[in-house]
């Protein structure tokens, strides 16, 4: 277990930097975690992060990669509804890296 300091507050994370308490999340924390992943957040990143959080709210899990690409495609145009676009935004893999920034638990298993 570790802690991160954002805006004068301390938040608990696991060994890999995922937030332990999902309710702690806010946009400052997202920006902070993105920084640790060498990602500078822009509107495109936020589109993905916001969708992840909405989906999680409903289903208690991050969306499958295909569900995510489809949703992004519907919202932003078919040219962006593919995993290349998402890998461009989140080079370590949209599944894990975007979840981490969105303050969601890490997808586990053979993924």
């Amino acid at each position: 277990m570790a802690n991160i300091e954002v805006g004068g507050n301390s938040y608990e994370t696991d060994e890999e930097g995922y937030l332990v308490n999902l309710s702690d999340w806010n946009s400052d924390i997202a920006n902070y975690i993105a920084g640790t992943e060498n990602i500078e957040m822009n509107d495109q990143h936020w589109e993905v992060i916001n969708f992840l959080r909405e989906y999680f709210e409903e289903y208690q899990i991050a969306p499958a990669v295909r569900v995510l690409t489809k949703a992004i495609g519907k919202k932003l145009g078919a040219d962006k509804g593919n995993s290349e676009y998402l890998y461009g935004l989140f080079p370590y893999g949209p599944g894990k890296q975007a979840c981490k920034i969105a303050g969601l638990p890490k997808p586990t298993g053979c993924v």
Binding site: Y59, I61, A64, V65, K70, G93, P107, T108, C110
Partner: protein
């Protein structure tokens, strides 16, 4: 004499230079109390070392008496060295402790000290050593650098199975609260939610409905992805990564198309939405069984006649080799196990129970119930990576080596361009992908990249010689591992995919 020619020189395997201590360290993240206690393990190690020491020795004694094989493996090794350069982690890391014999010796040295007379009397003479905290830490580190792929055991003249030694070591470590986070967290999720991902029923339903739309868009045909349908003939048990990750999901689409095209009624189960069984990775029989029993429960509930297993390496080993006695799928149910008996009666024994999806598809191809437009795969020059647990822990079909031939036969039936990788690195001698056995976790990425090296070298050779641009495999771990590490070796991550992804590309479903 004139016709006698000397055989061509072989390319001598290069023995890597040793780098002692190259992979020393703390190992992967240790499971915390919450994770351990959720699956009934001690939360953490005792404060008092002596207590842990005694518990480790007691557990080791228990396993030695329970598993005769473990005792044989501890006693039989003559240090001939046949295994020493066969492990992909040794080849990739050059750390001598990743030689299979050295890995076994981490435990063998302790075994000799506490369980053999010479070791009790003259420890130094026989390589025996006391169990100390440092020794246990070394176990944790190096037994989490073995993917239990059993390549070394193919070369061992005594058939010593390092995977079983690793499983025993992990079982002992778990019994004293020193388990690995990745595997134990996942096992907890299966017990709680039904799959390794933690994908709840409604999310699974939503994902499957989305897939039905996608496939309709792509083919114009209504292909169903049914869940929890009572009275279906086939229950498909597949790794949860097939619902979630790329390229896994393309194989799931392939299975659905095969069921559709053959008019097979089938269903997934929200309760048993996982083929994987990490209980095997940690060598724990109780966890292994508890995970497998979800499948029996689902099969009984849904009244299915056949159980088909999707593309997942270790799941197929568990299904093929252990489900019969664990759950009653296949022959061998305990006479006193009422539910196992019930399931055994329910299943239709004209078919193999369980059936691998490749067996299913290959049978249908042979019966001419499937047709393909092979040109749809013409953009691919394909090779096949045998997954360790399928290759060395199971079988398919009715003939020896069916697990090697059947996936290849399917590829050749659906595609025009197929080539093999170098002999000695495929079939029973296949290299592990580098991420199996519970090591597919980000905190072991350095090990995973190095462990993939032998496969990557051979793949590169096949790319250079034959222009291969697609490596098919039938394991969710292989797919995830290669997708992650291949870009590091300069390959496109989309170069790896499933056998049923190729089936999906070429299958003829009717007019659009």
């Amino acid at each position: 004499m004139a016709d006698v020619a000397a055989p061509a020189y072989r390319i001598i395997p290069i023995i890597p230079a040793l780098k002692p201590g190259a992979m020393e360290g703390k190992g992967p993240f240790v499971a915390n109390e919450k994770i351990n206690e959720a699956i009934g393990f001690p939360g953490k190690m005792a404060e008092n070392w002596q207590e842990t020491h005694d518990a480790v020795i007691a557990k080791m004694g228990e396993l030695l008496s329970k598993y005769r094989s473990l005792k044989v493996y501890m006693d039989a090794c003559v240090h001939c060295g046949a295994c020493s350069d066969k492990c992909h982690y040794f080849i990739g890391t050059q750390d001598p402790k990743n030689m299979p014999v050295a890995r076994q010796d981490l435990m063998r040295s302790v075994y000799r000290r506490y369980f053999t007379l010479p070791g009790k009397l003259f420890p130094k003479l026989v390589g025996a050593r006391d169990l100390t905290r440092e020794v246990l830490d070394e176990w944790y580190n190096y037994f989490n650098q073995c993917s239990e792929c059993r390549r070394c055991s193919v070369f061992c003249p005594y058939g010593i199975d390092t995977a079983e030694v690793t499983m025993a070591a992990r079982e002992i470590l778990d019994s004293v609260g020193y388990g690995q986070k990745y595997s134990n967290e996942i096992i907890g999720k299966v017990h709680r939610i039904g799959n390794n991902l933690g994908l709840p029923g409604p999310a699974l339903q939503d994902t499957l409905e989305g897939l039905e739309e996608d496939v309709k868009d792509a083919t114009g045909i209504d292909i169903r992805f049914p869940m929890d349908v009572k009275g279906a003939e086939v229950l498909l048990i597949t790794p949860s990564a097939d619902f979630f990750a790329e390229p896994h999901i393309d194989s799931l689409i392939g299975y659905a198309k095969v069921f559709h095209a053959t008019g097979t009624s089938w269903t997934l189960s929200s309760m048993a939405s996982e083929a994987g069984n990490f209980g095997m990775f940690i060598g724990n029989y109780e966890q292994l069984r508890k995970i497998a029993l979800r499948i029996r429960e689902a099969a009984l509930e849904l009244g299915v006649k056949r159980i088909v297993v999707g593309e997942c390496g270790h799941a197929w080993r568990v299904a093929y080799s252990f489900w019969n006695t664990l759950t009653g799928v296949g022959d061998g149910a305990d006479a006193n196990d009422r539910f196992a008996q019930m399931l055994q009666k329910q299943l239709d024994h004209r078919y193999k129970q369980p059936t691998h999806i490749c067996e299913f598809t290959w049978d249908m191809i042979q019966d001419e119930r499937l047709s393909f437009d092979k040109s749809k795969n013409d953009k691919h020059i394909i090779t096949f990576h045998d997954s360790c647990n399928v290759a060395r822990g199971s079988r398919m079909g009715d003939f020896a080596g069916g697990q090697f031939e059947i996936p290849r036969n399917i590829i050749k039936a659906v595609a025009n361009n197929y080539v093999e990788m170098r002999d000695g690195t495929t079939r029973e001698q296949t290299f592990c992908c580098g991420g199996g056995g519970g090591l597919l976790t980000d905190d072991l990425i350095d090990l995973r990249v190095k462990g993939a090296l032998p496969r990557m070298e051979v793949l590169q050779e096949t790319v250079d010689v034959h222009g291969v641009n697609f490596m098919a495999t039938i394991c969710a771990i292989c797919k995830a591992q290669f997708t992650k590490v291949m870009p590091i070796y300069g390959f496109d991550r989309r170069m790896v995919g499933g056998v049923h992804q190729l089936v999906s590309n070429a299958i003829i479903l009717g007019d659009k």
